[in-house]
Amino acid sequence: MNIKDIFNNMDYGKAPESPDTALDWLAQHNNKFGHFIGGEWVKGPSRKGGHFDSNNPATGKALAKVAQADKKTVDKAVQAAAEAQSKWQATSGHERAQYLYAIARLLQKNARLFAVLETLDNGKPIRESRDIDVPLAVRHFYHHAGWAQLLDTEMPDHQAIGVVGQVIPWNFPLLMLAWKIAPAIATGNTVVIKPAEFTSLTALLFAEICQQAGLPKGVVNVVTGDGKTGQLIVEHPGIKKIAFTGSTAVGRWIRQATAGSGKKLSLELGGKSAFIVCNDADLDAAVEGVVDAIWFNQGQVCCAGSRLLVQEAVADRFHKKLIARMHKLRIGDPLDKSIDMGAIIDPRQQQKIATLVQAGVDAGACLNQSDAKLPKNGCFYPPTLLTDVSPSDQVVQDEIFGPVLVSMTFRTPDEAVALANNSRYGLAASIWSENINMAMHLAPLVQAGVVWINCTNQFDAAAGFGGVKESGFGREGGKEGLYEYLQDKTANSKKMTTKAKTKAKLTPVEGMDKTPKMYIGGKQTRPDGGYTYPVHDHRGDIITHVGLGNRKDIRNAVEAAASSKAWSQMNAYQRQQVMYFMAENLSYRAAEFSARLQAFGHSKKQAELEVESSIQRINYYAAWCDKYDGQVHGVPMRGVAMAMHEPIGVIGIQCPDDAPLLSFISLLAPAMAMGNRVVMTASETYPLPALDFYQVLNTSDVPAGTVNIISGEQAELVKPLAGHMNVDAVWHFGDLAETVEHESATNLKRTWTETTVRDWMKQGQGQNFLRQATQVKNIWTPYGE
């Protein structure tokens, strides 16, 4: 085309970024890589299958050969990390900060090389790797350099966990590496990280950066390989914490595989995030929001706004605008600076997208697809909008992980919330409205870890990112993300043992001849199975019988907790009043509870102290009700990112035998204070203080269903409770952690399992309890007029 032709048709032409520097770097390594272990390059095995190709998805051609780490290699990496760990942890925060700072600087200096290499390996547009992935990765290291510096003064009660295993996905290879490594090493942990097998190259380049920064050997170890290598990391006994970003299916497997291992776990999994457009939205702005939501990174984004919900009055106009915009998108060579969408990671992924879209069309969806010409070679899929779909369609329920948007309409704000929450997932949501009342009304109601008001896909190291429900747990970024790589300095080591039950015949005890019932939905209830079991005093005599709860009692209790919204809808001040009332009512019955405890062998003094401590503990958490504030994060935006503490929802709590009243109260009160509803399973051996407590609840204006108390065998109750899909978290204090964690995988509920003995007097309260009772939702709200 000559100048005159272009003058008339005003085409963009080609504007390719040169791949040469990145290709030169690969050539310097003879296009073949080993692992980075203990600060050295370790060659992959020379045998067949010892390496695999990393391809350029835009051309299908191999870029380099990457090694497949076997058990020996992973062992070696974990050993290197373990050897480096204590010294790294002992390094001063200031020094650790200097290393992170150096890494950030070196990333910046090599920014273009990283961007081009990322685009070659992943297929994402160079604009995105250049303007988004790399700068955000840099930002993450700078931010966490600051945390390394501040850790000793700001979080004096916490310390590193040890060796951390990290498994990351292929959609943001360098960025996810930064999200994982920066907080881990800032806090004194050492790392064995495995990039996804499709996209190992920037991780290997990053290893060189670590060398250049002079990072002590073994602090960061990079092993490459496929899922089998990931499995070796997850199952490695030398690793104390697993951080994973990837699919919900793999996340569920990891939860099961690590059950009972004592490994700390954070999972950032799939999503089907709602993108809500209200009648009063700036529709043109929202259209651009959709572009950045689902046609960013070819839609291969876990938090992609892939479920469009448009209010009926503007739906037709919005769809028209959106389709017009979709046709403007340019798809092609990812290295071209004028390209909006590059290549899909792999032909198998492309096929999966095509199959799901076809299933949608077969089910009656209306297909709107860009008619842009796709390149002949390479792996591409056009931007797609499916309308005329309903919540029952597979394309609406399942994560497609491609540039495919499904759209539904809503009539009222309530319906928008109902549709948005009608999903197993809960990663992110985007809300578009020019009415602050509407936007701020919807934001707390949608179940998601991140909410973007009038924006989408905003990320920053200072604000936590992560999901709820089956989108996983844990946060990355912000102070909330640091806790994922820290443990309490005062952690106990003595293992809990369950006391053997004594069999003896019923002996009536004077003044205590009643049979305590269970407590479900505000009512005293008999056990569903009709069985009871005896409770003994310290002499071995039977005091009374209590209900032997079974799975149906758990079912009923969860049902009651889930459907009782009153407590969660009360404001903090109201909850506080109720809890002060609870403390007061407990004090009226102090003598009665003291007698119970004495029957279990407490001395009078001990018993009175435990009751008094329990009263104080309720007051402690009542005090916290209106003080456990969130934060406003300092993100680089004109606006606020509000980190709100939200209740988890329904928490199942299995109480220990130790200090049967105080431990029960110490777990109940923080959960209540933060607005959760609970299903408590009482200490199996000493259930009476817990069962007696419903008398206090009954007289304290606690709404029915807020607290439900079941007695029975913990081992019998654990499975239905931990496996219940409507329970959002389980706290287990006992020896059944493995079962709890394994069963929790059903809906990926949060777990807090403690198998060691806790001194409930001295270690029974604190902000760590409140952290377990809440999750952080970050609400991004840009402003300006």
């Binding site: 272009i6 085409d11 080609k14 403007k328 600076k337 009038n454 300006g784 007029e785």
Partner: protein, 317 residues
């Protein structure tokens, strides 16, 4: 391409009231317009030549004289050095600027200089730049300018109507101007730096189009803030809205503050992305600029020679 001229329509307050704007979102879009598209090499040459044809080459100073205006018209007729034209092989394209834009007093001189060139002659009018002269004088000023040879009239709106949200008064005023313009095309200057909020800009844009504007224009060039990308996005999205609702295409003229070739390319890709190729023609898009041309010339010389150029190598306007 022939553009059906906008006849205007009755003031529809519902359309005005339904306008929603999110400033942060508009700024985000504006910030990435220049990073999402890149025009290189031959395409850049063609785009820069296009940009020249879209320039309203302007002098609006109190010390303007006939000689100064003659020099400007000469530049408008021959914006590029001859050897560059030859090197690019574009002699037959007869590249000129889109228009010359002057005060009323300079129209006679300019009309004489531009006769037969096809270059439009624009006059700023209606008590430019403040626009606070008596209405009947402002209407008369338009008529005089048209009589003196202007085929384009750049009017300024009364800003106080915007602050008062007195859309009826704004509509009536602009409609009166449009009638006074007759066959001459009318560009309505909103003084976006003064009416301040993007919401005001959007609403004023829509009212002006309803009142019969052929173009909507950002600024007089005399405000402290002139054309910006967020303001431009706001205005052209209203143009898109008006087009979708009525079928009429309205032109856009950002004025003031655009002095670099690279910025001009961003504006062109913005028009192409948001409105389409029709809006890359002088009938529907103009740059109000005085120093942009000089930078384009330097860039074109760089494309031809491979060396960065200097201002003194190119003729003054």
């Amino acid at each position: 391409m022939t553009i059906k001229r906008n006849p205007g329509m009755a003031l529809n307050l519902d359309w005005i009231e339904s306008i929603q704007l999110n400033k942060s979102a508009i700024e985000r879009r504006a910030a990435t317009l220049g990073t999402r598209r890149s025009v290189k090499k031959q395409n850049q040459v063609a785009w820069l030549l296009k940009a020249i044809t879209l320039i309203d080459l302007t002098t609006l100073a109190g010390d303007d004289t006939e000689q100064r205006v003659k020099r400007l018209c000469a530049k408008g007729k021959h914006p590029l050095r001859h050897d560059l034209i030859d090197a690019l092989g574009i002699a037959d394209m007869h590249i000129t600027t889109g228009a010359i834009c002057v005060y009323h007093d300079m129209l006679a001189t300019a009309a004489k200089e531009l006769a037969g060139t096809g270059i439009h002659l624009a006059a700023v009018s209606t008590g430019f730049p403040a626009g606070l002269s008596p209405l009947h004088l402002k209407v008369q000023e338009i008529k005089e300018s048209v009589k003196a040879g202007a085929d384009e009239i750049d009017i300024v709106i009364t800003r106080k109507h915007v602050f008062a949200e007195n859309w009826q008064a704004l509509y009536d005023e602009v409609k009166a101007y449009r009638e006074a313009c007759g066959e001459a095309h009318m560009k309505t200057i909103l003084a976006t730096g003064e009416i301040s909020t993007l919401r005001n800009v959007a609403k004023a844009s829509m009212v002006c189009m309803m009142a019969g504007a052929d173009f909507i224009k950002t600024s007089t060039g005399k405000e402290s803030v002139n054309a910006t990308l967020p303001v431009s996005l706001t205005m052209i999205r209203q143009i898109r809205e008006y087009h979708e609702r009525t079928g009429y295409q309205i032109g856009y003229k950002p004025a003031g503050g655009i002095s670099k070739a690279k910025e001009a390319l961003v504006y062109l890709s913005m028009m192409k992305e948001e409105l389409g190729n029709d809006w890359l023609q002088p009938d529907l898009f103009r740059f109000g600029a005085s120093s942009l041309l000089g930078d384009i010339e330097r860039q074109l010389e760089h494309q031809v020679s491979g060396h960065y150029s200097a201002a003194h190598r190119h003729a003054m306007g």
